[in-house]
Point group: C2
Chain length 364, copies 2
């Protein structure tokens, strides 16, 4: 049936809304909109938003765009070019007796503040129900993420087999090669392709340059993109010839930290736990200050979403969540390293979706 | 001097903030951020925002991104990976005694609502000061928009000279040709390239298809993109051989309406006036229902911004404003037409930035 998946997602959302005491959730153009509508909406100055209520769904839409949604299982609330769309929406919320309204995080403040102006008693909150819905994937969604992980594994394998010699190449040339392989493998978007050799690998702000790779340079690769609706993301390192001894030692430690964080992805533990587990290992070895970011992030229709694996996040992990596990060690002025896999938490515990070998790859 | 332009923009913004009774304006990743910072920021779950106060400017930024902004003339308010950035910002607003805060329209609701939670007495409003600042261009900014208009004129001229025969081509082929010409002419982004032949031209939702152009088809072309920081946008029609007589008649009427709207772009008139002037002409001729959209929109760092030339917009036009003038006539099932120019309002009245001929182009 058309829109079966979208209708099921709305139904799951309604259950969470009820737990959160929300009468409705308003969803502007975003990955959540795609989840509920099966298509993108343009984020422009013309308000388009899906309103999911306890019993129905309405789409507030400019008249010119209304034909795009005629087939969708939603009631269309069409506004005219010269109308104040937020006033129109406020009236409709009043008719529907909506008192507690959740909105998606990416909803525009300009619309929100004007809506609040027209509906001064409306209680508007972040739609954490939506975040929780998106964080826990169905079997079908996990299959989509597995396909994206398989595709990103294929990109990395092809890259390594086609680039046996790294010494003498520029970061930008390698970046272009990876980008092209992602396109070839069918990625519909490229979120980023970062290549950092030698000291450049120590900065998460470095995306690639005309630096020519020197013999002995370790190189950090991190690339991500959307494949058939679902994101893949991976980080690996490769070296242009044998790296220095302290690099090899640190790399073994990093793999230990990554595996420990992986094992810590268990039902019921707070999302902060895998981060603290990896951080403890790196800190004990004197690399606490060299691990400068959270250990991971959820991934799905967005490349970053809940659960964020970061200190302070008390969200409990539950089966169906999919997230990255990517500790790193960065020594300013010398080198960097990061190993990232995508992990699903199943009823039986954590399982890696990405399967690329984690052994340090030493090319020429 | 580095950042001269950005500092000047902040100074102008402060003047408008004072008129609006705002103590500060908060600007997330957006064209306004580019205007004030001279660079883009990534829109992600990690809060980055510029706070412009009456006397200074601060950037709230995650620690990992802070090095990007070291040279900028702003105070850095750095938050750590495990910190609640909105709580940190709320504390800083309290220290600075900010009571009335404006935010840019595109600011994320998730950040806004969490900030409001941490600062319950803060009065947060849409930063219309920012909208007004952006709506009125400096001489240097008008030069940037002129360069973008010149570039889009070159694209259209090259397209016509390279496509003497339209009959038998698909819309998608023409769309690809225009897109390539935009890249060749140096556009850094392509906002859209819409090609609608015959009845397809009657729908503003039609962007191009594998429809093969038939002899006699009129074709609507509309394309826009960013050139060296400033947007260009144009619409023209061309025909694959002579169109029917009623098309020619309607086209003459459309040119009259476009010219009348152009002449109505005068200092002191409300932004709604050019729309009503064009609409009156088309309505008198029986095409009121066939002109389905506003007559124009402001253009600058964003391809759509104030002043919107639409019924109900009482914003007075002032010299320095730059906007599109683009009436259209759409007959469902038959054909469409739209002619769009970019117009600057000068002290001496309106002046077209785009100069492509408006005569109906009849190809083979």
């Amino acid at each position: 049936m058309p829109f079966d998946r979208e209708i099921a997602a709305m139904t799951r959302l309604r259950g969470l809304m009820q737990q959160d005491g929300l009468d409705a959730v308003l969803i502007g153009p975003s990955a959540s909109f795609r989840e509920m509508m099966g298509r993108d909406a343009n984020m422009t100055e013309r308000l388009v938003a899906l309103l999911v209520t306890a019993t129905g769904a309405e789409l507030i839409v400019p008249r010119l765009q209304a034909p795009l949604y005629e087939e969708h299982p939603v009631n269309l609330l069409i506004w005219d070019e010269a109308e104040d769309a937020t006033a129109r929406l406020a009236d409709r919320l009043a008719e529907l007796d909506i008192a507690q309204l959740g909105v998606n995080d990416e909803f525009w403040a300009g619309f929100l503040l004007r809506l609040a102006h027209h509906a001064p008693t409306l209680d508007i909150r972040p739609a954490t129900s939506l975040e929780r819905l998106r964080a826990v994937k169905t079997a079908e969604e996990i299959a989509g993420l597995q396909a994206a992980a398989d595709a990103i594994d294929r990109v990395w394998a092809r890259f390594l087999s086609e680039n046996r010699v790294l010494t003498g190449q520029t970061e930008l040339a390698l970046r272009a090669a990876l980008t092209q392989l992602m396109r070839d493998e069918g990625f519909e978007t490229v979120a980023w392709v970062d290549v950092g050799a030698g000291a450049n690998g120590a900065s998460s702000l470095h995306h690639g340059s005309d630096y020519v790779i020197q013999r002995g340079d370790p190189i950090v690769f991190d690339f991500a993109g959307r494949y058939d609706g679902w994101n893949g993301d991976i980080a690996r390192v490769a070296c242009a010839g044998a790296p220095e001894a302290d690099y090899l030692q640190a790399y073994a430690l990093l793999l230990d930290a990554q595996e420990a964080a992986f094992q810590a992805i268990q039902a019921g533990v707070p999302a902060s736990t895998p981060d603290s587990v990896a951080r403890e290992i790196l800190t004990q070895a004197g690399h606490g200050d060299h691990f400068t970011h959270r250990v991971g992030h959820g991934i799905g229709r967005d490349v970053h979403e809940q659960p964020y694996l970061v200190a302070g996040n008390s969200l409990p992990l539950v089966p169906g969540m999919v997230m990255s596990d990517e500790p790193g060690i960065y020594i300013p002025g010398r080198w960097g390293m990061r190993v990232e896999d995508i992990v699903v938490l199943t009823e039986e515990g954590p399982r890696r979706l990405t399967q690329s070998p984690r052994d340090l790859f030493i090319a020429d």
